[in-house]
Symmetry: C2
Subunit: 339 residues, 2 copies
């Protein structure tokens, strides 16, 4: 009986191991066959992403890139979430001016605040970049980083996009959410590299995009370490520290990541240098992709002639350099989860 | 036979599952029983580390901290590697001056370069911080980030520590290497937060410490994005961007990580604010640890009265705040791998 049991045991063990081995062998293709980008229509854009990922992740392929070097950088405004009719952070600043106005009676007569309180966007625009910086400093500085985080979180929980009537953090592009997840599932580290404020994004990027605070790069104001009755805080100062836009993006990437991305995603001229940095003179295969806003019906249609998210030089560069251009209208089956 | 086989099969399967379950149950304690810090002598310092890690990683414990929040920040000079008789990066700058001198005949008569070429450290010290900055700019700027990386890597491959006659990257503290690995094995993300140059460290921290470039925070000079015959480079400018020392460390941590560390490791007054930032007003258990250089025989002995790595206020703060102070002489069984 003992030896019979042993024979059975051996046979069973062999069968079990074989089953386990088969399961392991079939696991990869089985997963690969399900569509990792279900909100994307089949076409050149989707195919260029899939081809790139297969190329850099297949061990032994000439394009193989080890996982630690698989850095992907994403612009935020207009690439991951809506940037029309205005950048969300500007909508936040305008609301903050209204909230803070009772403490600043002088704002009723002082630009750019008067324009905001009067709802006069033309007068606001006339104050130019200087007016904008003043607006940002008055609403973003002179508080601790922790207080600012709370203010941003509170605002996002109640503010709604004027057209879609949804929380701003729901006005994110479902195809891009899938793309972020697909890249991460293939060993990529996904970063946000945005002209927007780094501390305006960090409170919610992990929940919304799966991107933790340490993988967010953005513009910033200076901070100062202060002990307040023995409790340390970082005080936000009304002084620009870094502008993470245009040629600032490769600088921000180098400062925060210290590696070149092998994949970069943007939608405007502010992303041009980041796309160049990722692809020109790259030692490995590299992907540059531009989200082109072509869908006035489901979202917005704009490129060369717009205030927020102008896409002009980068669109020409895409043609010249054979970068992937995504037409939101044609390449995306679905834009928002709520639609 | 079929039913007999089935009975055996069921019995065997049950046994197999039980064995697997046992293996899983016993795995954790079995690992915990082997010493994760073999180069540390038993004592208060080692115990405080072990207790802290158990406290924050045991699920259900009141001190439990979810893995994404387990951020540990390490100073570099004097905490992870030797900083006497001078900071390694200064030794690098002095060697660079000698290498570049033939292209700069004017340096023979111009301070601080003359002092370096004459080997007159007293005259060099007399040029003060201004002389030091001039030295750094002349040796660290006006080249691409890629060229600088190559220069650092080349220098480290041949330079030797004057006393230990070993490559500088071997003059790292074995107990701290074990500590880095122990924290990572327990779900911590380990960062370097150093007053040293970020681009001086990144080329080798992954190989030596297991810390990838994106987890290195340090001082920096400004860079500018430039296209050179259609190839993008980042040009290093002779202009200080950020000093990651003293009150700059919490600023650098916030900028790069966007989370508070729950464990911080330093050895000098330059680390005081980082240790405060990690522990004071922390919402979770937090560990602050100071490496005290007490071993003139195996390494160096210094604290309140030294030029490189002065430990004065932070030593008083450690006593006051009950931080862990490591005596290299007493707490470390072994300092270097080569000893």
């Amino acid at each position: 009986m003992n030896s019979l049991f042993s024979a059975h045991r051996r046979a069973f063990l062999t069968a079990l191991l074989a089953a386990a081995a088969n399961a392991a062998i079939f696991r990869a293709p089985a997963l690969a066959q399900s569509d990792p980008l279900p909100s994307w229509n089949d076409g050149k854009a989707k195919q260029s992403i899939l081809d790139f990922v297969v190329n850099v992740t297949r061990e032994g392929s000439p394009g193989f890139v080890p996982a630690p070097q698989r850095i992907a950088t994403f612009d935020n405004d207009g690439t991951l979430w809506v940037e029309h009719p205005m950048y969300t952070q500007l909508a936040f600043a305008l609301d903050r001016v209204k909230d803070l106005a009772p403490q600043h009676p002088e704002w009723k007569k002082k630009q750019p605040f008067k324009a905001v309180l009067d709802g006069d966007m033309r007068a606001l625009a006339a104050t130019g970049e200087r007016g904008l910086v003043e607006l940002i400093m008055a609403t973003h500085a002179n508080m601790s980083t922790r207080d600012f985080e709370r203010i941003v979180t509170d605002w996002l929980s109640t503010a709604r996009h004027p057209r879609f009537k949804q929380p701003y953090t729901d006005c994110v592009y479902q195809p891009m959410i899938e793309l972020l997840a697909y890249l991460r599932a293939n060993g990529f580290k996904t970063y946000i590299v945005s002209g927007g404020g780094i501390e305006f994004m960090r409170p919610w990027t992990e929940r919304v995009y799966g991107v933790p605070p340490e993988q967010v790069v953005g513009s910033s104001i200076k901070t100062r370490y202060v002990l307040r009755s023995d409790t340390p805080i970082l005080l936000r100062l009304p002084d620009v520290n870094f502008v993470d836009d245009g040629p600032g993006k490769p600088v921000g990437i180098n400062s925060h990541i210290g590696r070149r991305p092998i994949a970069a995603f943007g939608n405007s001229d502010g992303d041009l240098q980041m796309l160049e940095w990722a692809t020109k003179a790259a030692a490995t295969p590299a992907l540059a992709l531009i989200v082109h806003h072509t869908d006035a019906e489901r979202e917005y249609a704009y490129d060369r002639d717009t205030h927020f998210g102008k896409l002009d030089k980068a669109l020409d560069a895409a043609k010249l350099n054979n970068w992937t251009v995504v037409s939101m209208k044609d390449d995306w089956k679905r834009i928002f989860k709520f639609q």
